[in-house]
Structure formats: C-alpha cells, structure tokens
Symmetry: C2
Subunit: 228 residues, 2 copies
C-alpha cells in the first residue's frame, strides 16, 4: 500500500513522528505537502465540506479508503502494519498508552515557548514563556525522563523512534538542561544512539527528506528558555 | 467483567469521561480511590516497582489482566465492549481520533487557569491565566465548537458522552462566554440535552456518585477568566 502523509512542509513537528516510522520501515509513502501544489491539496482536504470524517489539524494519513488523523492514532494504525508494533491487543494498547504520554510531553515542550496562545508570536509572550520553561525544566522534564527511563524493556517499536525524536529535539531546544539531566537517564541515551544507527533511519536522517530543526517547529532554541 | 477505575476521588477531571461510559452502559465497576483505603491502593499501584507497565498518571483501568492508562486509550478499549463504539476498525479509529481531539481541547481548558505550571497554585499565575483565557475564549473555543458542530452525525457512542461533559464543564467554567457561543452550535446543544435524558445516565447525574464541579478540577469557575 502507498501511504500519503499530510503535514506542514517546513517543520518536523508532529508529522516527524509518523515520518520516522514510515522511513524506518522503508514504507512506500508520499509526503503530500512537500510536493508541487501539495499545500493546496492539504488545505482543500481540511476545508472541504464533502469530507465526512475531516481531521481537526495535520498530520493525517491517507491509507486506501481511510483518512486517519491524530499522530498517536496514525501510529496505532501503522504500528503492526509496518512491523513496528505487535499485532495482539495488550501490546498495542501498551505502546499506544506510551505514545499518548509522549504526546502530552510534546504539548508541554511546545507550551514552553507558547504558554499564552499558539496563534500569537513568541515575542508577544516572552515573560510568560520564561516562567513556563523554568517550571518545565525543573518539574516536568525530569518527571517524563524518569518515567521513560524505567519503562519496561521490550522489542523494538515505534515508541523507540518517538523517544529518539524527543531526545533529539530536547537536545536542540534545551542543550544545557539536557547535558545535566542525561546522566540520570543512561538507558534513554543508549536507546537514542541505537536508533540513530539503524541503517534505513540513519540514511533518512542524513538525507534532504529530514527537515532541520528550526524556529517554527515544536522544538525551538531560545537560549533564554534553557538553564543558565 | 468487573472493571476497576483508578482516579482522584474528589474531582470529575479526566476520570469522569470514563465514568460516564461505564455508567451509561450500566457496567459493573468499582471506583477504587473513592472506597476505604482506595487512595493508598492507587498510590501503591503508581509507585510499585513490580508493575511492569506502570501508568504515568491516573486515570487507569484494571480489566482482568490488563492495566490501561490514558483516558482516550481506556475509552478505545471499552467502547465496543460496552456497546458504545462499533467493533470494526475504521469506525473505532474515527471515534478515537475525535476523542483525542477532545483530549487536546481539555488540556487547553485546564491551561486557562494553569498556563505556567500544573504544580503551582492558580493564585500564583493569575495575570498569565487572564491572558491565556482571553485567547482561549476568542480563538480556540469557537474553533473546537465549530469542528464538533459539523462532525458527521452517526450512531450513539462514547463521543456523545464526552461532548456532553465538555458542554457541561464549559457552561460551569465560562457561563457568559458559552451563553453567547451556544447559539452558533445548535446541534451540540441538542446533543447535550439528548444525552442528559438517557435514563441510566440521568440517574447517575442525579446520584451521589456524580461529583460536583469544584475549584480543584479541570473546569473551574473563576469569573475573571470568563467574558465580561
């Protein structure tokens, strides 16, 4: 099956969690909005009154007749089909539970630079961002890291890819904080290295298909939001 | 099967979305933390090193051998078993996508009074809360309401119960804003009425099992956060 992923073409964002799974599995897919006239196709889909089951926002995935939105829902669907999750329900629900916890974590990363409104500029919420980022660095980030550090070890899945992306993004956004916290989470650091060395994924990360981190994405580097 | 729900005993919070499904279906369940020594049982479960697949936070559900966390994941599991979702994958994924969008919406409701840190008091983030709530009322709330207003009409499911709870909570937290916005979403208002009239659910809502809204929950009434 050829999958069609719809996501903003200039950021990693939430779409990247789906891209990593498709790339690691060597799946046949197109990244619609990065092709000629792809953005119009995506916007048409979001606004069309004839779409019966419209997504609220990107990313969404076309898989044959299905149109699936919400990052964790897409990965739940793709997991067993791409060999990145078990087929039996208990294992699938457990991985999905972890992915939903990663989704919660990601919202908190985003809100460090947008605590007041996602439609406002960062520059219009800087004092609030500084307070929120301090709370994130001291309270929430260590809690999430510790939770995933202690997580049951098991066979490779899309969760490893998502945790790789979290570590990668957190290192970009909070380099000083992460260099301090990483010594407490050696298993996560080792997991990150192991994932980066996977042949297909490594090729993807070095390719032009991998968009660089930038100041429009979820992970942003504002030095004033990192530790002193 | 007798289900065991674990959630904070003094608020509706996220657990209420699960309670509504269990109650509407007339399921056999216990609300663990509301029983004698139940809080200790819940905390033991959260902290026990012997639990292989520990939740990050309540709510979680014990269903036989399974321990399932994340509200939307619990409803995904319960849906077809309680007659509140179809059994076939396309319909299940679609309802789950909607529930995950409701979960995103709920985080934004919570963050109107806690934009800086969930571990801090409201009183320590009042100016920021005022700004965030204004953005929520003018930008985000109308967008979510319109999305669900246009949603495909279909057979009754746990999504209707969750939307009932959203309307109920928003009316409690933002009475002035809602009285203005509701005229634009007649289908949601009608859905709310229809759900409240369901016999089993109505009995639950009038019972002592239904915890009242209060200032520790997700939906809180701070008049300064509502429209003028």
């Amino acid at each position: 099956m050829r999958y069609a992923l719809y996501y903003w073409p200039s950021i990693q964002g939430r779409g990247e969690f789906v891209r990593l799974a498709l790339e690691d599995a060597g799946a046949d897919y197109i990244d619609v909005a990065r092709r000629a006239r792809g953005m119009q196709a995506m916007e048409r889909l979001l606004e069309s009154p004839s779409i019966k089951r419209a997504p609220f926002a990107p990313p969404f995935l076309r898989a044959g007749e299905l149109l699936i939105a919400q990052t964790a829902n897409i990965l739940f669907y793709l997991g067993p089909r791409l060999g990145l999750a078990p087929k039996a329900e208990p294992g699938r629900l457990w991985l999905h539970q972890l992915q939903l916890t990663i989704a919660d974590w990601l919202v908190e990363v985003h809100d460090t630079h947008h605590p007041i409104g996602s439609g406002l500029y960062y520059e219009d919420q800087r004092p609030e961002a500084k307070r929120r980022a301090a709370d994130f660095r001291s309270e929430r980030l260590p809690k999430f890291l510790q939770y995933f550090e202690k997580m049951e070890s098991r066979s490779f899945s899309y969760i490893d890819l998502s945790l790789f992306q979290m570590i990668e993004g957190l290192r970009y956004a909070f380099p000083r904080t992460m260099s301090r916290l990483e010594k407490n989470v050696p298993r996560l650091v080792e997991l990150h290295e192991r994932v980066a060395e996977r042949p297909r994924l490594g090729r993807y990360l070095r390719s032009k298909r991998r968009i660089a981190f930038n100041q429009q994405g979820i992970f942003r580097r504002y030095p004033e939001l990192d530790a002193a």
